[in-house]
């Protein structure tokens, strides 16, 4: 099985290896998802078929690429699954567990082939053995009720099969030679072949490269049906193939325990749906290529903005056509940009899908009953974000299971259902993606956190509000778990979650009620590449304030501004006093309006705090492409990156949270000097 490339010297099969690994991983994920969802008492035949197909595809691919070890496990799995879907073997919870383990083993083998990860032979043997045990069990079970079975491998009697083979029209394009196929079939026993031309167009419309024939074969063989199907493997989908046993013996079929009749009805339709349409519906493109397009479109947007700016000064009557053209261009570029950005968007289910398994295993380990609810799985967000969201969410879910959800007895005592619920909910709110991790567990315990914080030498007191107490759990090394388990409690976690989410430009908020549960909310930007911003002018400089940080903007009256201590200024707004940050002072920009009344004030929300930024004027609202300053320079305090404006100049994008802390630092310095 290893010398595949040698057998087919004209095709470099290794270049398809990557595709196989990806597909295999997808099949495994699909299999796992289905197995977790299945109800052992009343399995949906459709789902059983889907699981079988996934195993079958992995086996096929593994065979082609010479990963014989993978085909061994998948083969055993497939055999058992086949019995189950044939109704010969009742599905039980332990069997589902075994299937999941088999999937794990296959994943391990896959990792071994792909990354050279270590493979535990024992685990493979154990799973294969268990699967074989199931098979043997059925054979023994089935035996008395159906027919006397000889010991050892049963010598099946010769049977006659009628095989209807209608190949896909493009079969020749795939380099398949039908005569070889028939030779191979003839190797199994006596074969008669009858071909017929079906549905061929008139000669002028005939494409000689397509196949318009179908064949009726009759094969008399001792081989089981599965072996016949194996010959057609990779040549025909189940839909192309109709195998019927002509003189079906009353005795139970041999080895694989194939039962031809139920199989035919069930298989073809879903196979078709899963296989071909999907292949036509999507193409795999490297993320690098998509990013390149996004960058190029970003450049186009900048060029378009530049043209619009140049065009704006031209007489609208004399250059009416040009203006129309520019407007059209602006619309088209915006549409193009949206389409291109959407290419990077993937559903959050890519992350969510890992949790059913995680929760199931973890709950079993912890001896808790936990139900996982996933809401809003179709919410789309940037691929880069999805990948980076996996770790923080895993932390949060583990925490919820380990710390928040109580053991069943404690839950019942508290008047709650024995099974706890953890909900993952994703939604898009404005320009943000909000992901909530909710549980109905014990809730955060104020006293415990305060005590722990005091032990760790954090400055705390009873006067802290609940919200402030909850924030303490984000301190590095903070854990209130009484014992360190291998699940969580080592105190790495919440601070990592906070850091990861902040690195993505997001925020974390906590709401908790003792005895009722906890909700942790992550809010993230929709994409990493583009931002809706408000351009503001300060002196000769321009800055971009992210729209989602802006609460409102206003032109202050003289009486609205008060001073505190002579230097610090606050804006009085609807009974609230908000600190005022003059951007010109923060960034030392000359030529800007000194007095707040001469400028414009922008009220922004910074992690729940409201502050007021003083600028000279609002310029306009625009979508800006975020450019990295770090690529060639370094992080600039107070900025979340830079962008290129319509006139080709660079403008900094303000990070409101950072500006607030920057200003506080400056104020403190000033106070220290005074």
């Amino acid at each position: 099985m290893t010398a595949v490339s040698g057998e087919t010297p004209t095709i470099d099969i290794s270049s398809f290896g990557l595709v196989f690994f990806e597909e295999c991983a997808e099949h495994l994920a699909e299999m796992e998802r289905l197995l977790l969802a299945i109800d052992p008492g009343a399995p949906d035949p459709e789902e059983l078929n889907a699981i079988f197909r996934a195993a079958h595809s992995i086996k096929g691919g593994g065979g082609i690429f010479g990963f014989g070890d993978m085909t061994v496990v998948t083969h055993e799995l497939e055999s058992v699954l086949d019995l189950v879907r044939g109704g010969e073997l009742g599905l039980t919870r332990p069997m589902v567990d075994l299937f999941l383990q088999a999937a794990d083993v296959i994943a391990m083998q896959l990792a071994g082939h792909r990354d050279g990860a270590p493979v535990e032979r024992d685990a493979i043997e154990r799973v294969c053995g268990a699967l074989r045990g199931l098979l043997a069990g059925t054979a023994a079970h089935a035996a008395p009720s159906v027919a006397p079975l000889p010991d050892g491998p049963p010598a099946a009697e010769a049977r006659r099969y009628r095989i209807g083979f209608t190949p896909a029209p493009d079969i020749f394009c795939r380099g398949i030679r039908i005569e070889n196929l028939f030779d191979e079939l003839a190797g199994l026993g006596g074969l008669t072949v009858r071909g017929e031309v079906a549905g061929a167009p008139q000669l002028p419309h005939l494409n000689p490269e397509l196949c318009h024939c179908r064949w009726e074969l009759e094969l008399e063989t001792t081989a089981p049906e599965a072996e016949i199907r194996d010959i057609f493997e990779f040549v025909a989908d189940d839909s192309d193939l109709a195998i019927t046993a002509v003189d079906a013996p009353t005795a139970a079929p041999a080895a694989g325990g194939e039962e031809p009749a139920p199989r035919q009805g069930a298989a073809p339709a879903p196979e078709n749906r899963g296989g071909r349409e999907q292949a036509e519906g999507s193409i795999r493109v490297g993320v690098g290529k998509v990013d390149q397009i996004i960058n190029q479109v970003g450049e186009l947007v900048i060029t378009q903005a530049m043209l619009a700016q140049l065009g704006a000064v031209l007489d609208p009557v004399l250059f009416a056509d040009l203006h129309r053209g520019l407007q059209q261009l602006s619309r088209n570029t915006r549409d193009l940009q949206e389409s291109v950005m959407s290419m990077r968007l993937v559903p959050i289910s890519l992350v969510f899908s890992r949790f059913p398994r995680l929760v199931r295993d973890l709950a079993a380990k912890l001896g808790k009953e936990v139900e996982l609810r996933l809401v809003g799985e179709t919410t789309e967000l940037d691929k880069g974000l999805v990948e980076k969201l996996a770790d923080p969410l895993t932390h949060l879910v583990r925490n919820a299971l380990d710390h928040a959800i109580e053991p069943p007895a404690a839950r019942l005592a508290a008047g709650k259902p024995a099974a706890g619920t953890v909900t993952l909910r994703a939604s898009q709110i404005g320009g943000k993606i909000v992901v909530d991790v909710m549980d109905d567990g014990a809730g955060l315990q104020r006293e415990k956190i305060l005590k722990k914080a005091a032990e760790r030498g954090l400055a705390v007191g009873d006067q802290l509000s609940d919200d402030e107490v909850w924030q303490l759990i984000f301190a590095p090394g903070f854990s209130t778990a009484e014992t360190v388990t291998d699940v969580s409690g080592r105190g790495v976690g919440m601070d990592v979650v906070l850091r990861n989410v902040q690195a993505l430009g997001g925020r974390v908020a906590i709401a908790s009620e003792t005895g009722k549960g906890t909700r942790i909310t992550l809010s993230l930007p929709l994409t990493l590449a583009i931002l809706d911003g408000l351009a503001v002018a300060v002196g000769a400089e321009k800055f971009i304030i992210p729209i989602n940080a802006i609460v409102e903007s206003l032109q202050p009256q003289a009486g609205d501004i008060r001073t505190v201590n002579g230097t610090g200024r606050v804006l009085q707004m609807r009974g609230e006093y908000l600190p005022l940050i003059p951007l010109h002072a923060l960034f030392a920009i000359g030529g800007a309006a000194e007095r707040p009344e001469a400028g414009v004030l922008v009220v922004v929300d910074s992690e729940g705090d409201r502050v007021v930024l003083q600028v000279d004027a609002l310029v306009d609202e625009q979508q800006v492409v975020i450019k990295s300053l770090e690529e060639n320079y370094r992080k600039v305090p107070g900025s979340a990156g830079a962008t290129i404006m319509g006139d080709g100049r660079v403008a900094l994008i303000l990070d409101v949270g950072e500006i607030t802390s920057l200003w506080r630092g400056k104020s403190r310095e000033r106070a220290a000097r005074a």
Binding site: Y633, R634, G638, I644
Partner: protein, 159 residues
């Protein structure tokens, strides 16, 4: 004027020479990406005065350093003839403002003398040596070491 097409025999290397005030400097020409005018620089607050800010170089954001301010030589004026050498060092693109770009000099290793210890605003660590070209002294700068140094404040050293 010497032509810059000398073949690279016996370790001869080409240097782009530029002037800062009355002094003439040279740097490895392979590090030079392009030479352009000084235009549309966006200031960055709270940076040393020799970091003039950033520019948009065909969609890439590039910091601009004024070497005249950094080395305290020459007169600091910005006009249509101010020259920016865009260099490629340490995987980064950086622009440096100089008084003028004069020439390309091919120098064999034996033409280069080690720089003596001296007190100047340019640390000798960043000097590759001194060379004489047509009676003029050329100060060869190790541009990579200079731009990557902490004192230029161009790189996040924490990162």
């Amino acid at each position: 004027m010497e032509q810059g097409t000398v073949t690279a025999a016996s370790g001869t290397r080409e240097y782009l020479t530029f002037t800062l005030g009355s002094e003439e400097y040279g740097m490895d020409i392979l590090k030079v990406q392009e030479i352009r005018g000084y235009d549309a620089v966006t200031r960055i607050a709270n940076t040393p005065d020799f970091i003039k800010g950033v520019i948009n170089l065909r969609g890439v954001i590039v910091p601009i350093v004024d070497m005249r301010i950094k080395f305290s030589v020459g007169t600091v004026e910005y006009g249509p003839f101010t020259v920016v050498i865009i260099i490629n060092v340490l995987g980064r693109v950086v622009g440096m403002v100089v008084d003028g770009v004069s020439d390309v000099a091919a120098l064999a290793p034996e033409q280069i003398r080690p720089a003596p210890e001296l007190s100047s605003s340019l640390d000798t660590r960043y000097l590759a040596g001194l060379a004489t070209v047509e009676e003029r002294m050329l100060i060869l700068v190790d541009i990579e070491a200079l731009m990557g140094s902490a004192e230029m404040q161009l790189v996040d050293l924490a990162a």
